[in-house]
């Protein structure tokens, strides 16, 4: 095969990886954690955002077979992932559960990952540890909390899986280390495109890192889009209450969230608004990714649709 044919074939092979979540339900006693989640993931870096308790950790836990679903299905390339070791050997979840005892050496941790996942990128891990300033021969228990997180991140990036789930990966990391992590994440993704799902509350930092965004609110996916097009997902209209209401009514806009301060009201509506048709006393602005996520998910507190 020529180089170009090889590249095309590789791209096809990568494109074939698909994780399909259909109508997923989960409850803990009387609390509903997931209320019908539908999502299809393909090789890309995804940002999974939502309020605390929205169900992000639960969703990732179920994909990784650590939690049991209450209903619905999750399929990796057509095969269910539940209790399926072949599928689970292609899935890796990193959250605050530490699946080993603290008195082990870093090498032992990495070797175990290598055994269970079939391979391990030792060169990459050595390079990352060096950049982060962690001695490869250290004992996990001797490291600070931030360093321990880094070690586990390094392991997560070095296993040859097709689905990498990172649940709050940068918790406890200082700003410099966070930047370093994002760089390595992007490098790893460039080398080995795969499905990577990043769940974090520091949205603004990864706005450029992620390719697609999924927002989970109250157990459902309320929006899924390309990170770039966040500007077209919603618009915030600011102006006098009656004027704004008029604009919304005449354009049949769908309200996402609403804030009122006296006569002045600030309404987030779905989609884009043609600014040329706006009256001069109502302003329209785009939202950045973090702002949009906040507004879209805070609407649960404020009365919707008014």
């Amino acid at each position: 095969m020529s180089a170009s044919e090889y590249a095309t074939a590789a791209a096809d092979a990568v494109a074939a990886v698909k994780l399909t979540i259909t109508d997923l339900h989960k409850r803990y006693g009387s609390t509903v954690a997931l209320n019908g989640v539908n999502l299809t993931l393909r090789p890309a870096i995804y940002g999974l955002f939502g309020r605390n308790g929205a169900g992000k950790s639960t969703l990732m836990g179920i994909i990784a077979n650590r939690l049991l679903p209450g209903g619905g299905s999750i399929e990796l390339d057509g095969a269910s992932v539940f209790e399926n070791e072949t599928a689970q050997s292609r899935i890796y979840l990193l959250n605050e559960t530490v699946p080993f005892m603290v008195g082990v050496r870093l090498n032992t941790i990495f070797k175990r990952e290598e055994r269970y996942y079939g391979d391990f990128d030792w060169a990459f891990s050595a390079r990352m540890l060096a950049k982060f300033g962690i001695m490869p021969g250290s004992l996990y228990g001797q490291l600070s909390l931030g360093q321990r997180m880094i070690v586990r991140l390094v392991a997560a990036l070095c296993v040859p899986v097709d689905v990498l789930l990172l649940d709050e990966p940068v918790l406890g990391l200082d700003a410099a280390n966070r930047e370093l992590f994002y760089k390595f994440l992007l490098e790893s993704f460039s080398e080995h495109p795969r499905i990577i799902v990043l769940s974090t509350h520091i949205i603004s930092e990864i706005a450029h890192v992620v390719e697609r965004v999924a927002i989970l609110d109250q157990g459902r996916i309320i929006d899924e889009f390309g990170a770039e097009s966040v500007g077209s997902r919603a618009t915030v209209l600011v102006g006098e209450s009656d004027r704004v209401n008029m604009v919304i009514a005449s354009n049949q806009l769908q309200i996402i969230a609403r804030e009122q301060m006296g006569h002045l009201v600030s309404v987030v509506v779905r989609g884009q608004v043609d600014t040329s048709e706006l009256p001069s006393d109502v302003s329209a602005n785009r939202l950045g990714l973090q702002e949009y996520v906040i507004r879209a998910t805070s609407a649960t507190d404020i009365q919707k649709g008014q």
């Binding site: 605390n52 950790s57 836990g61 990784a64 077979n65 650590r66 939690l67 049991l68 209790e83 399926n84 070791e85 072949t86 689970q88 050997s89 899935i91 979840l93 959250n95 605050e96 559960t97 699946p99 080993f100 175990r112 990952e113 055994r115 269970y116 996942y117 079939g118 391979d119 040859p160 649940d167 709050e168 918790l171």
Partner: protein, 312 residues
């Protein structure tokens, strides 16, 4: 790279290996400590009847029972998370649990028989006389499985204990086999019970620190009670005359007989004859094993690993 070899997945094999290693390490340490203890008892002259007075020094059973129990418990409680976080399914974890819980006692029994053979052949502690091979004059002074050496023997228990001597039965050459089987059934039972306790404690731990603490306290209390009550004497070593347990002819006594494999029958002139029947405890332990594994599976297939609810 699916990692399957003839239907056995990589994860299953790795988990099985890990489980066996855990048992292996603990037992190796146990054995290392056991040998000097035995030697010490030999040197200090604790042989024969003295062994009754100082139980547990060269009492293999008493020594290894808690080791197997706690190892099985630890595996069930503490190693589940690690398995699942590496892509192992609950089913594979359970299979590894069950296989280990059967294989380890089996291997230990084989080792025990081999060691016993060596010990007898070299004429240490157990033997009184070395003539005619090594006969234990006071088999009923040895630990429980040793008593099965004389299975199928019919002992007249009306005679004073000091006058008890085994008559060789045609089955004597197979005596060690019975000993081994009884030993295996004991070890199997303890391993199965240990695994079950581990599964229950893990389930309680999921429910909170209070639940598991109460659970541990309850278990400790139950263990204390059992070890002092007559029912526990079923598994206690050393000679125990069946008639010591409740009155002969009562239901409780029959239960004790049934559970321990020591059966009493009567001759025409009312002489009590005691017989050791090994297949009774063996069958019991197998049933117990299957039952425990089934219950553990009920727990395991619903077991989840939850992320911490509080985020610091």
């Amino acid at each position: 790279m699916t990692g399957k070899t003839q239907g056995l997945s990589r994860q299953f094999l790795l988990t099985l290996r890990r489980c066996l290693t855990v048992y292996g390490v603990v037992l190796a340490v146990g054995l290392l400590l056991f040998v000097p203890l035995c030697y010490q008892s030999v040197m200090l002259g604790y042989t024969g009847s003295s062994a009754i007075v100082f139980p547990g020094i060269n009492d293999v059973e008493l020594y290894f029972r808690p080791i197997l129990l706690f190892t099985a418990m630890a595996w069930q409680w503490f190693f589940f998370d690690s398995a699942l976080c590496h892509g192992v399914s609950r089913k594979s974890y359970m299979k590894a649990t069950a296989i280990s819980a059967a294989v380890v006692p089996l291997l230990l029994s084989v080792l025990y028989l081999m060691a016993r053979f060596v010990v007898i052949a070299t004429g240490t502690a157990i033997c009184y006389e070395k003539s005619d091979g090594c006969r234990i004059t006071g088999p009923f002074y040895a630990h429980l499985s040793e008593q099965f050496m004389y299975a199928w023997e019919r002992m007249d228990w009306n005679r004073a204990p000091s006058m008890w001597e085994a008559q060789y039965s045609p089955a004597l050459p197979a005596g060690p086999l019975f000993v081994g089987l009884k030993f295996f059934s004991l070890m199997l039972s303890y391993t199965a019970i240990g695994a079950l306790i581990g599964a229950v404690l893990a389930w309680l731990a999921r429910r909170g620190i209070w639940a598991v603490s109460i659970g541990v306290v309850v278990l400790w209390y139950a263990a204390q009670q059992l070890s002092s009550s007559p029912s526990m004497l079923i598994y206690m070593p050393k000679m125990q005359v069946i008639s010591n347990f409740y009155e002969l002819g009562t239901a409780q006594n029959r239960l004790v007989q049934a559970m321990s494999g020591r059966v009493v029958s009567y001759t025409a002139d009312g002489v009590e004859i005691g017989t050791y029947v090994v297949w009774i405890p063996l069958a019991e332990s197998l049933v117990l094993f299957v039952l425990c594994m089934w219950i553990i599976w009920m727990f395991t297939k619903r077991r989840e690993i939850h992320p911490a609810r509080q985020r610091g």
